[in-house]
């Protein structure tokens, strides 16, 4: 049985984590798309955010935890690699992306 989602075909599915990998051949390249539930990460981030201290004390601060595919698709990984800190900070300060933040405050 082949499971399809539009032109995507299910390539693998992990029952434990709900992670599924979809495949699509665009005529030239094989493209893989990874879907996974992020409820856990969102609720964990929220917990961490609530318990994190407001003050910026100490050396290292975890500012955000972003699911890998969102980090890659939104361009934040590339922007960070290229040193485009403005883009990264704008992304992290954007209230739309609050779910990924693990510490309050303006970056």
């Amino acid at each position: 049985m082949i499971i399809r989602d539009g032109s995507w075909t299910l390539y693998e599915h992990d029952m434990m984590t709900g992670r599924s990998v979809w495949h699509y051949f665009d005529g030239e390249k094989d493209v893989f798309r990874v879907d996974y539930p992020v409820d856990n990460l969102i609720s964990e981030n929220q917990d961490v955010r609530n318990s994190a201290e407001k003050a910026w004390r100490g050396d290292w601060h975890r500012v955000a935890s972003i699911p890998l595919n969102i980090a890659h698709d939104s361009g934040i990984v590339q922007a960070h690699s290229e040193g485009d800190d403005k883009f990264v900070k704008r992304f992290l300060n954007n209230s739309d992306n609050r779910a990924w933040r693990t510490k309050e405050g303006q970056l």
Binding site: M1, I2, I3, L10, Y11, E12, H13, D14, M15, M16, T17, G18, R19, V21, H23, D30, F32, Y36, P37, V38, D39, N40, L41, S43, E44, D47, V48, S51, A52, E53, R57, G58, D59, W60, H61, R62, V63, A64, S65, I66, P67, L68, A71, H72, V77, H80, S81, E82, G83, D85, V88, L92, T102, K103, L107
Partner: protein, 331 residues
């Protein structure tokens, strides 16, 4: 209670249908964090070489009035190189197996080709993160990341750097030291060395365990207790892979869990600090299917092959925290 005599059970039944899940789950994720991060280029030879030059260290520069000139010697740049490595995956399926109906359709050509392609990409990641020194000749091997790095390092007791050996033109594998737990001191030490040597670390690739240790480095009250929230219905009680963004004294870094590095203790013991500008992967032959494999017999053969190498532009821009407990608190 045992079943009553003559109860006809499934053990005796003959025609019961098998039930086999149609969705095949494999827990070998195809993520290749470092390979995905770095730039991909091309090479035209099996031994691409490049040069690195550096400024002299700053020093007091005070001259006398009316002084006669003297001329210093020029030190030539370092000439570095790496060898390409041939990576291949192959399969052969009988023509009958190709057409029979099968649950999951895993043993079919199309699926095998896909799967081998994904595996090959992960092998590239493996070649980057393992500790294989470069080798020339017919069975060429690319020098992995950890064999290059010798400047921004933190190693366990008795551990020693490898590095590029100019006379032989090959990299040398580092010597493993005593394993230790990853600590904030180790992190800060590598970050500081990098900062002083002009590196601009932006990414850290480490085994998922090392990444989880990272979280505990935050100053006291910032340490969020490690919680595994149970989501709706109690299902999917596993944290998904996420990139963590950290602000620290020597810059901001993004930490990526690297599942290829979790493959064995030998790979997990290194955490790599990466400036993506200092690293690229050069392909001599991109991964592609060899379509000219001769057909013999009643079977279908397939070969995927690629050849490429890792280019370390300047190892001073990279760092490694080696000899860490990378899988558990004691391994």
């Amino acid at each position: 209670m045992a079943a009553l005599a003559n109860t006809f059970t499934t053990n005796q039944a003959v025609g019961n249908r098998e039930e086999l899940s149609d969705v095949v789950s494999r827990i070998t994720p195809e993520d290749t964090p470092i390979y995905s991060l770095i730039e991909k280029g091309s090479t035209k030879s099996v031994h691409p070489e490049w040069e690195t030059d550096e400024l002299a260290a700053p020093a007091a520069n005070i001259k006398t009035e009316g002084d006669e000139y003297t001329f210093g010697a020029i030190s030539p740049p370092d000439r570095l190189g790496n060898y390409t490595q041939i990576l291949r995956k192959d399969w052969i399926i009988s023509a009958t197996q190709e057409v029979v109906s099968e649950a999951g359709n895993v043993q079919k050509r199309k699926y095998q080709k896909l799967k081998k392609g994904v595996e090959l990409r992960k092998d590239v990641e493996f070649a980057i993160v393992d500790t294989n020194a470069s080798v020339g000749g017919a069975t060429r091997e690319l020098g992995s990341l950890s064999t290059w790095i010798e400047t921004n390092v933190s190693r366990g007791a008795t551990g020693a750097n490898g590095g590029f050996d100019t006379p032989t033109g090959l990299t040398v594998a580092p010597t493993n030291g005593t394993q230790r737990a990853f600590t904030k001191t180790i992190l800060d030490s590598v970050m500081q060395q990098g900062f002083q040597n002009g590196a601009n670390f932006r990414h850290v690739s480490a085994s998922p365990y090392v990444k989880s240790v990272f979280v505990t480095f935050m100053s006291d009250s910032n340490v969020a207790p490690f919680r595994y929230a149970v989501s709706k219905g109690g299902e999917r009680n596993t944290i998904v892979a996420s990139a963590d963004y950290y602000e620290g004294p020597f810059g901001t870094v993004m930490i990526h869990p690297n599942r290829v590095q979790a493959g064995s203790a030998g790979l997990a013991r290194n955490a790599f600090f990466i400036d993506p500008e200092m690293l690229s992967f050069l392909w001599l032959r991109k991964i592609q299917e060899d379509k000219d494999v001769a057909k013999t017999g009643d079977a279908d053969k397939g070969v995927l092959i690629g050849e490429g190498t890792l280019k370390v532009h300047n190892e001073k821009g990279l760092g490694v925290a080696a000899d860490l407990f990378g899988l558990t608190a004691a391994s």
